[in-house]
Symmetry: C2
Subunit: 294 residues, 2 copies
């Protein structure tokens, strides 16, 4: 059976391979400046950081290591948001078992639940926040401007913001809280603060779905896209487009043939629902921990 670090790496691979995922790189589609093989390389590079998450390293340190490894390909930011979600989930899956990267799935008690996940996230520290900021030095991440009066905590400053993070005593949990309350609300931060309710529900749907794992991933993506406006689309194209994308996804009713046509349109329009992909990766990890057959 696979360890949590292995399941997290496999979740990265299944997420990008799932097709069709309207607007995103998938098994059938590249974008102009981002290719499928760069996601494969990103997943390979992230493994060491995921293993650290499974062997007791602090969430921030494991995340920074994973992002540094992910960035050893030429596509830039392939899986920053996916890793932000996966690292605490891996840590929560291991839980109190300490060094448990060798703990096979069969010996674990299903995927981690809301309390374990939320507890892991809520326990993050100022050091974790500092590592989170340092991770932004490895890749360009598309994020919105910070709120008024928060310029010194702009994540795009990377390591340069760490003194301000320490001065203000901001934990990673605090950072996620502010992003969850911002406009647009960051979809990953909202998951972090609430114990990943969307990812857990999507994982449950994947486990009762049928057919090949990659089809289940694609349907999970379409279902998540239909739930909420995607943060990345909102940042890049504005709220109206993000709401249109959500409505178009809802109209698909998880029909993959219809999703294929929508994928072509979204790629043409440069609409890339990246945050929904991040939540899909989290859901896929939880489904794998719950026994998703591959």
């Amino acid at each position: 059976m696979r360890t949590p670090a292995a399941n997290a790496q496999l979740a990265l691979l299944l997420e990008v391979a799932g097709t069709p995922k309207p607007g995103n790189v998938d098994r059938a589609r590249d974008l102009d400046d981002l290719r499928f093989e760069q996601f494969l390389a990103g997943a390979v590079g992230a493994r060491d950081g995921l293993t650290r998450a499974a062997t007791g390293a602090p969430v921030g340190e494991a995340f920074e290591t994973a992002v540094a490894g992910m960035a050893t390909q030429r596509g830039g930011n392939t899986q920053f948001g996916c890793l932000l979600n996966l690292v605490p989930l891996v840590a929560a899956a291991v839980g109190d078992a300490g060094d448990a990267d060798g703990v096979a799935a069969a010996d674990r008690d299903g995927p981690p639940g809301r309390e374990a996940i939320r507890g892991t996230c809520a326990a993050t520290t100022v050091d974790d926040a500092a590592e989170f900021y340092r991770a932004f030095d490895h890749v360009d991440v598309a994020v919105d401007d910070p709120p008024a009066g928060m310029d010194d905590l702009d994540v795009r400053r990377g390591a340069a913001a760490v003194p301000a993070v320490r001065d203000r005593g901001v934990t990673l949990w605090d950072v996620m809280g502010r992003s969850a309350e911002a406009t647009p609300p960051d979809g990953n931060a909202r998951e972090w603060r609430r114990g990943f309710p969307r990812a857990r529900a999507a994982a449950d749907r994947m486990l009762v779905d049928d057919g090949p794992a990659l089809d289940r991933v694609a349907r999970a993506f379409c279902g998540l896209l239909a739930e909420e406006p995607d943060t990345l689309v909102w940042v890049q194209h504005g709220e109206a487009v993000a709401r249109e994308v959500r409505e178009r996804a809802a109209a698909l009713d998880a029909d993959l043939a219809a999703a294929d046509a929508l994928a072509a349109e979204f790629v043409d329009r440069g609409i890339n629902p990246g945050t929904t992909a991040d939540v899909t990766a989290a859901a896929t990890f939880l489904a794998l921990e719950g026994g998703l057959p591959v």
Copy 2:
């Protein structure tokens, strides 16, 4: 930069994703009983064994670990032959540096050369042979009957053959020598015994080729398929079909559009040039060690 273990895992992923690869699972095609996502899971599972190969474990032990991990998916034998090739190449890439899994590619001196590779293979022991036989217990591998008088060393006996291996004092180098001289000659064993000349030449071609890495992988596969009859096709369909496949591949002249049509035909006919895929994975690893851009 990626470590040798990471490059080997990425080679597994790029190999299966390269398309079109006539007759094999690739980014665009599944077979009836073998799906793309199972190769992704196989590559994830193999990582620990590859890391062992990079950190000084004996070749046989690292291989058995990699195969055991590879087998944690439901497709059966996805990458047994690929791993048989990759494990000694990873060990040779690390060479005398001892525990060098942390040695980044930039600090290494290009891919390992013929002497380093052949030396690693020639130094394998009876213990390595025993682990090789044990690896057959994890998956069904399509191999031909053993030569007359060699039934006790039939690899399909798995661990049951280990006493005979020890009685006869057979090393893994010896096992590969016998397979290289058998009829049909095993394509991977021939590479093992000769310092991987085909993989090294294909890696050199990949490095001077241009375009995306996955296109280079596909062209390398087609070129290798055009060189020699594929062992697996020979075992499964006979020598005449294996020779026809080689000739059809040679006629492609590495044109990927023509290869796409051939892929459809080969899949329909159940022709699966698996040994050529194994050599392609080896070539891809060597190309990555030589700086193949992804």
